[in-house]
Symmetry: C2
Subunit: 457 residues, 2 copies
């Protein structure tokens, strides 16, 4: 079906005065005595194209297409009083698909909660069109950032036999259904597809380290899974994860890449999605655009965990969770630090080893590790990373302290045997970045088909 | 750790004559009377940098770094007789990580089978370095192709309640382990994480259609899963899948995008990875480069399934699987058509409806559907697509013929109720494309951590 994207029709000035064919869905329509108007949208642009139907030759024309109908329209593209429009007669309009009166997206201004009940249709609203375009542009900006800097894109496995975090919140993957024919768990596992227990990866980091100590600089960008029973506006059971890993790098190098990347991708969205950012600024968060522009034009803050704890204690603020050295920072603490103390993005470094993972490099103080989190106003943590422990003996000791099964990690340990190198990386929760960039408050509204506990529509 | 990528050192002529610091792993080393030589590789380039160690001031220097050791080296970058090299003295070399004598990648020329036993180390060989760099460049070329043409990148869910193909080869996703406490399968499902049965998606197409009928043109690029008991060189249980979906498009439009995209991404690899393509041409498939150049400079062939069956029958060739109208084409048939008959890439269209999926548009002949497969020499099918059935009643009829549970597809059916449009798309198996571009014969060797039946290391 030869036609032109509405985005192209609205932006390519050379088309003015020419005959164009567009397709799209009716967003609104109204009839008047001599003309009828249809706002048409094909999804390629936040803005609609106005179709002006001249009824002079067909004064009885009454079948003005309803909201939700799909049309093909051919006519002259002209500069109207307020916007670009296409002038047609009723004969120039082909109805591709009708739409009944009970189409649920009739009126404007549906709540996000209502739209969550129809994930298959909500992409047709301005809000989701704008979210999904920003998501797409952000994704490509991330790829571009790494590709231009010699990072190799690596696809780490989703189905895994190990558990990166040493925690238990994994989905199990099996081809065996409900069954009582196995006597023990081991029987069950041995009969399964992979001949052993398998689960969905919570992080590609361990395999990312294997790749980085071969290709030097790598990044992953794929789904990760958490079977956490967390029904919050910030948690998904299935989310997209960006995990760069860099060989020959110390914590400072990791922080440098994180800051540079965040600034690059937000700068790209500001440049490529001005309509969408203006939309969110108007409807979701006043001052959004200024906040993003400020973020990318200032150096991010820096504070150690130990200093951060002191700042929080001295703040006089009443927190729900008490603050003491050794505690994990909660969202309320993270937001206080970035919104009230630093008033910008801030890196917190050198966390207590007991609240961080086994693979983080142990600092000389014996108490902290070379970890880093990036906290941003309005969201809290969006990046968590570290320099990795490159010393074989220290790594083994940290794993034994945590009662980990070393046999499951022999490949990972090999990296410290065969030409070990300083290396590090971080994980970025892609949906949290989108929330930060759009001002959308619920993570269910920045991915088309969210997966959360109890919900899989 | 401030240093320069070896790729940069080897290609940026402005660095010649300057002091540079590089890091990397020793690929080979040898000692002679006055000088020692080390070939160093940091993974950013297929080529090594040669380190020339002048022993004049330290004639007793014997600790020439072993293969596999990691080093940091600072010295003058010069144009040597055959290649760019770095001239240093022993004092300019820092050993970052030692490597024992039993390092398994000592010698060159390991078999691919042997390397499959060490997925965590094989990335350090030339072959896997080249495969993984081509994989990364191909991935970015795919993103770039769609982004430049107004396609929105969409992440369809991996955990799903439906089964796109209507077949049963799905992995189940559960948080319930081996257990006999549930009396029935329904009890088990109700107690599970999502409150119902869930599995790993075999295709994002159905959700892709939902996205395309909102955003107009979309593509997915993510993992898909098949729990097939197929231990062949072409099957993975977890593979990466590119699935564009286009609203306001008929079969011809789908074919046009498929041909244009394949040519674009292969052209990009030829331009950006000349060393890697030369490597595969020399070591894996003589004439590879010429074959790829020929592919992108000729129009792809076109044949209907019915014509293809006639060609195969008339061929006089003895096939393992007999050929008759209505049979599915096997790899031997696909390869014969592309290698012997057309001698190039060829689209086969309009397959019998009984061997294709319920969602394909039914042709007026009542026997075939508007399906298309792209066959390429050496591999067979790499793309499968179709125009989708946009007519509500015809779609329902096709689903009923297949005894499908319509309740599971109510969202999908809504797309045909509310402003249905002609639309279509295709799926590209990303690993099969990499096999085609590199000449590598086993799909386990084009992904870092392959997942196949019985194997999950």
């Amino acid at each position: 079906m030869k036609h032109i994207d509405i985005k192209e029709v609205l932006t390519n000035k050379e088309l003015i005065g020419q005959q164009v064919t567009v397709c799209g869905w009716v967003r609104t329509s109204r009839n008047s005595k001599n003309v009828a108007f249809v706002e048409l949208n094909d999804g390629t642009s936040l803005k609609n194209i106005q179709i002006v139907i001249d009824k002079a030759d067909d004064p009885d024309y009454k079948d003005i297409p309803r909201v939700g109908c799909s049309l093909k329209v051919t006519g002259a593209l002209v500069e109207g009083r307020n916007a670009t429009e296409i002038n047609v007669t009723p004969a120039d309009i082909t109805l591709l698909g009708d739409c009944p009166q009970d189409y649920p997206l009739q009126k404007k201004g549906h709540t996000l909660e209502f739209l969550r009940t129809m994930p298959h249709l909500r992409g047709r609203t301005n809000t989701f069109n704008a979210v999904m375009r920003i998501r797409s542009v952000l994704a490509q900006a991330i790829h571009q950032y790494y590709q231009e800097r010699n990072f190799v894109y690596v696809n780490t496995p989703l189905i895994t036999g190990s558990d990166c975090e040493g925690a238990g919140e994994m989905f199990r993957v099996t081809t065996i259904g409900y069954s009582t024919e196995y006597k023990t768990e081991d029987d069950y596992d041995a009969a399964d597809f992979f001949g052993r227990r398998a689960g969905l990866s919570v992080s590609g980091q361990l395999e990312g380290e294997m790749a980085a100590t071969a290709m030097g600089k790598i990044y992953t960008f794929g789904p990760s899974f958490r079977a956490e029973n967390s029904n919050t506006p910030k948690h998904l059971a299935e989310f997209w994860h960006v995990e760069p890993e860099i060989a020959f790098a110390e914590l400072e190098d990791v922080i440098e890449v994180a800051e540079d990347m965040v600034k690059h991708v937000i700068g790209t969205v500001l440049e490529k999605c001005p309509d969408e950012i203006a939309f969110f600024d108007a409807h979701f968060e006043k001052g959004l655009k200024a906040r993003l522009e400020e973020l990318i034009s200032h150096e991010f803050g820096r504070v150690t965990y130990t200093e951060a704890i002191e700042l929080l204690k001295k703040s006089g603020e009443k927190f729900v969770y008490p603050v003491d050295w050794g505690c994990d920072l909660q969202t309320e603490h993270e937001r206080y630090l970035s919104e009230k103390v630093f008033k910008k993005a801030v890196f917190v470094t050198d966390y207590p080893k007991d609240i961080k993972s086994f693979y983080m490099k142990q600092n000389p103080d014996g108490k902290t590790v070379a970890a880093v989190d990036l906290l941003v106003p309005g969201v809290g943590e969006i990046i968590g990373g570290s320099e990795r422990e490159a010393d074989y003996d220290k790594l083994i000791a940290a794993m034994k302290e945590r009662n980990m099964n070393l046999d499951l990690y022999s490949d990972y340990l090999d990296l410290r045997k065969f030409g070990t190198v300083p290396h590090g990386g971080f994980g970025l929760g892609f949906e949290r970045l989108i929330m930060y960039v759009t001002g959308v408050q619920n993570i269910r509204d920045v991915i088309m088909f969210p997966r959360t506990v109890g919900s899989i529509r």
